[in-house]
Amino acid sequence: MSASLHSLPNGTWQSWFDAYGRKLLLFARQWATSAAGAEDLVQEAFVRFWRSPHRNDADAHLQLFAMVRRAGLDHVRAASRRTAREQAAAADEDAHAWFAPAPDERDAALQAALGQLPPEQREVVVLKIWGELTFEQVARTLDIPANTAASRYRYALEALRRALAASTP
């Protein structure tokens, strides 16, 4: 999907949004405590991206992920000043809302385990699995060495396996 979009320099924003909206929203959930907050981040990043010259780059989709990440980090900094009441209200949202409704208990346990990962591991997993990026692309998006991305991914999968084993009898 990504490769085909790269060959469409004249693609409309809707085609980009159709291709990446779901992935960006999931990625944005790393920093937003609510679905509405994640959509705010995607909106901000997507509009910035579409108006920037980066959208014509060969690796434009990486810029898109990076812009969501930056908006997310800005959001976290701003959120640190918010009242406890607002934060508690946001935390009430279902943590499993990152994904479509889970069909069984195992999937639900996977989703819960993903939410428990350290943020630096979770963002790598999200980009690799659901963002469909290679380790090299993950590394460029997060501005980390590719080996670091690979090792974080490996640790994350191990943690997920352990969490899943512990949750299933």
Binding site: F17, L25, A35, E39, E44, F46, W98, A102, I129, A146
Partner: protein, 168 residues
């Protein structure tokens, strides 16, 4: 670099990320249909902004940058005799050509703090609530040369608003 195929990864991949709402697409469409001004970050979206307050620091920064780039030490000028005027004027030009040129591509305004400082009284005696907002304004600058380097310049800013209040 990529790991071999793993069935556990397939299991993860089978989890389907939630779809964005239709409202999000509508909001993006509305944003893109509007004139290309800087999109406000989520934290700031509900807050009215003052363009003058936003651009004032950048105007000062730009003026300081121009002053810095065009500044020549007095000693250099003193050593350059009158016949060498052409050389003296050409040198800064060459130096400036060698510098990468950056053009602003986007700006963001992030609200990082808000403080209600209570009721104060204006000069005419009317009461008003004093609200202090702390922002961080960021401008992304993109190099116009082949490197396409990007730098971000952030400046803190405070905005004080006096909101008239009525007493009964």
């Amino acid at each position: 670099m990529n790991t071999p195929h793993d069935s556990f990864e397939d299991e993860l991949r089978a989890l389907r990320a939630a779809d964005p709402s239709l409202r999000l697409a509508s909001r993006i469409a509305a944003d893109l249909a509007a004139p290309p001004t800087a999109p406000a970050p989520a934290a700031m979206r509900r807050t009215a902004t003052r363009a003058v307050m936003l651009w004032l620091p950048w105007g000062v920064a730009a003026a300081m940058t121009v002053a810095f780039l065009t500044h020549r030490p007095a000693a250099t000028t003193a050593q350059a005799p009158t016949p060498a005027t052409e050389t003296a004027t050409a040198a800064p030009s060459l130096a400036q050509d060698a510098l990468p040129r950056f053009t602003p591509v986007s700006t963001t305004k992030t609200l990082v703090g808000a403080l209600d400082e209570g009721v104060v009284f204006l000069e005419d005696g009317r009461p008003a609530r004093k609200l202090r907002y702390e922002f961080v304004d960021t401008v992304d600058l993109l190099s116009t040369d082949a490197s396409r380097a990007m730098i971000a310049v952030s400046t803190p800013r405070e905005e004080i608003r006096l909101v008239p209040v009525q007493t009964y």
